[in-house]
């Protein structure tokens, strides 16, 4: 009994306190206190097929331990999700890694903080290195087949501290794994499904991108606003009807333009004098290109180009003309005006790019942010196009008059341009993932209906060779996990604690002999009480 064993138990008690203290110390020594799970919004790399050939990131689900570098050449990375900050990315290494098809658990790329507003843009402005990395990175990732999930996230202090932790443990030669613990990245996501009927909404422009082609959208809105002022007065109404079209699906062979043109009546199509397509006009300095698909000697083209170059001369900017023949057998459509030309409408594209972008290039990538776009460039583009249109509409070709002169009632409004540019830079507009009822589309529609008589939007489905997959965004959970080794150790410690406690209790209450007897004979035997 407790009472009869009084004398000897004082030492035992001390011993048990001691063992508890040791236990506590062991636990403290192992790891510092873990913080709660972190959840981050992540954006998945696009996944698409062209004519059945798969491209992009093919998986969405992620459940691997975090690592910090690709360069651990001999280690097996197939169960590691590598976190790479884009700012310090070693592109050649990544390129090698992807092209040699080495196994990897997943890739998380940390983008520099999102810069949509003008205030924060100053700092980033000089960081042209990051931008060029982004351009290269995008080109690399979009055009390769990557059999693991690739996610993008914006840097924040939490992610940075986790990355620092991961780096520290990597540096000590203990990469995270099931046996050593560390951080675990988990994205619970279903197998990405094909977007059943990707729709494109004509009236609207496409893709995240301030320049490609947010600048074109803004210019179009401003031109529509300017002419609405002229046309609202019956005295200044021109003899032409102006048709404004915001078409979607630009990166996918101008599918939206094609659908839009096909919906035209034959007579309407024939009555079109010419079409001007605006493509990436937000960051040119002194030179703009007019792209045509008919030879420049063509009478109609010459007329329009002369009109534009007259005004350009007055404004002190240079415009050049580039002729590129349409290759009918090639399904790839390089410029938007080619869709017009295919239905025999005289058309040209105004762009700062001197050569047509490759497939999915210059479609408003990560680098294409607001601070890249120069409002004055858009302003000048608007001026150029609006003046030339006005001269054509009112039959004033060749005369040196300014219709949209500064400080007149028809002045171009720079703040209107700036505001719309800001909004466009904040709104991702990737056609296959845009809802039909997206508020941005309605906003554009509303804006155009303020300035024009008749606005209608149509929703068409993208046809052609493209297939898109969903799960573009997800939530990444980062857990700090203990290793299996730690669990085993804990079990061992607990087991010995329980056994020690058992022995201690038996000895203090029944005596040492009983303990010995317990192991010697079947425990069912009733021992006599002390």
């Amino acid at each position: 009994m407790v009472s009869t064993r009084g004398g000897g138990a004082g030492g035992e008690l001390l011993e048990s306190i001691y063992s508890v203290l040791v236990l506590a110390l062991v636990l403290v020594a192992c790891v510092e206190l873990g913080d709660a799970a972190t959840a981050v919004d992540v954006y998945r790399l696009i996944q698409y097929d062209i004519a059945g050939v798969p491209f992009g990131s093919r998986l969405a689900g992620l459940n691997h331990h975090a690592g910090s570098s690709l360069s651990t050449t001999n280690a097996d990375l197939s169960r590691t999700a590598v976190i790479l900050p884009v700012r310090e990315l070693n592109l050649t290494l990544l390129n090698e890694f992807i092209t040699s098809k080495q196994p990897l658990g997943g890739l998380l790329l940390l983008l520099p903080r999102r810069t949509g507003s003008r205030e924060s843009s100053e700092k980033i402005h000089g960081d042209s290195l990051t931008r060029s990395i982004l351009v290269e990175l995008e080109k690399l990732l979009i055009h390769s087949y990557i059999p693991y999930p690739v996610y993008f996230a914006f840097e924040n202090s939490k992610l940075n501290s986790i990355l620092a932790d991961v780096r520290r443990s990597d540096a000590t030669g203990q990469p995270a794994s099931a046996t050593s613990g560390g951080y675990k990245l988990v994205v619970s996501s279903w197998e990405p499904k094909k977007v059943s009927s990707p729709t494109i909404t004509n009236i609207q422009a496409l893709a995240v991108g301030s320049d490609s082609n947010g600048s074109g959208v803004v210019a179009l809105l401003e031109i529509a606003r300017l002419f609405s002022r002229l046309y609202s007065n019956p005295k200044t109404r021109g003899k032409y009807n102006l048709l404004f079209g915001l078409t979607s699906g630009g990166p996918y062979n101008y599918n939206g333009t094609l659908k839009w043109l096909r919906s035209f009546d034959q007579r309407l199509r024939e009555s079109i004098d010419y079409a001007i397509c605006l493509n990436s006009i937000g960051s040119w300095n002194n030179e703009l290109w007019v792209h045509v698909s008919k030879p420049p000697e063509n009478a109609y083209i010459k007329q329009v180009f002369d009109g534009l170059s007259d005004i350009a001369r007055d404004m002190g900017v240079k415009i050049g003309i580039k002729h590129k023949k349409i290759n009918i057998s090639n399904p790839r459509v390089a410029w938007e005006h080619e869709q017009f030309s295919r239905v025999r409408v005289t058309a040209l594209t105004l762009s700062e790019l001197s050569v047509p972008p490759e497939l999915l290039e210059s479609t408003g990538g990560l680098h294409d942010s607001r601070n890249l776009v120069d409002e004055t460039a858009v302003y000048r583009s608007v001026k150029l196009v609006a003046e030339s249109l006005a001269r054509h509409v009112y039959g004033q070709q060749g005369r040196n008059i300014q219709i949209f002169a500064e400080s007149s009632s028809l002045e171009i409004n720079p703040s209107y341009i700036a505001l719309w540019l800001d909004l466009l830079s904040r709104t991702p507009r990737v056609a296959p993932f845009l809802e039909k009822t997206n508020s941005f589309i309605s906003a554009l529609k509303k804006e155009l209906s303020d300035h024009t008589v008749d606005v209608y939007g149509t929703h068409e489905s993208i046809d052609g060779i493209f297939t898109f997959y969903d799960s573009t965004t997800a939530t990444l959970n980062i857990y700090q996990v203990a290793s299996v080794t730690f669990d085993l150790l804990l079990l061992l410690v607990l087991g010995s604690y329980i056994i020690l406690l058992f022995c201690f209790l038996v000895i203090t209450t029944r005596g040492f002999d009983d303990l010995i007897n317990m192991f010697r004979r079947p425990p069912s035997r009733k021992t006599k009480a002390a």
Binding site: Y479, D487, L490, L491, L505, A529
Partner: protein, 227 residues
Amino acid sequence: MTMFHFVNCVILTFGPHAVYYSATPLSEYDTIGTSVKALVVYLVTTLVKLICLATFLKVSETDTFDPYQELMRTLIGFIDIAGIYFALTQLTHRNISQTHKFQAVGLGWAFADSVLYRLAPLWIGARGLEFTWEYIFQGLEANANLVLNLSLAALVSLMWLRKNKPKTVIPIIYACAVILASMPSTVSYLRKALGWQPLKVVGFELTSSLVMAFISWQLYYACQRQV
């Protein structure tokens, strides 16, 4: 992590109860019935305590320490003593000695406390992927709690069941019982008002419970010798 960790935490939380029962003579005298009765009494007592708390205390939105509220909480905590007293005296036990009776009641009491307050958080939390020390500390707390409840049951049985006690130890017994019953409030004071780290709090609980156990055991021993 996950299931493995959960099992570890369960061993730490409930293991000592099982060991205490099987290692001590409690198992020989088959006192499980007494423990189960104590468990039921605990449930009723807790219900009464909760009703009292809901009646007399305001719901505090903030996690701050309010002396008046805590005093009320401590007073309500003394209902525990009444509960243990009821379990020890009013219930009909099979003929077992006082020594075994208080142990069985204390064990049942502590076990019920652990099941009620610790099992559900364990099941929900410890199986998550994220590792925290919280559940290990909770398990250690359960250990301290077992020791505290055993001491409290011993003291209560001394107070009302043993008639011929030495006069000198009676005030000490009462003082110790008050200290034990107000232990939850003390811990909450340390945690909230002084802002102690969980590790420090658990350490305090373990040491204080062992010290209190030692004192109450000495008291019990002194009374036993008197007979």
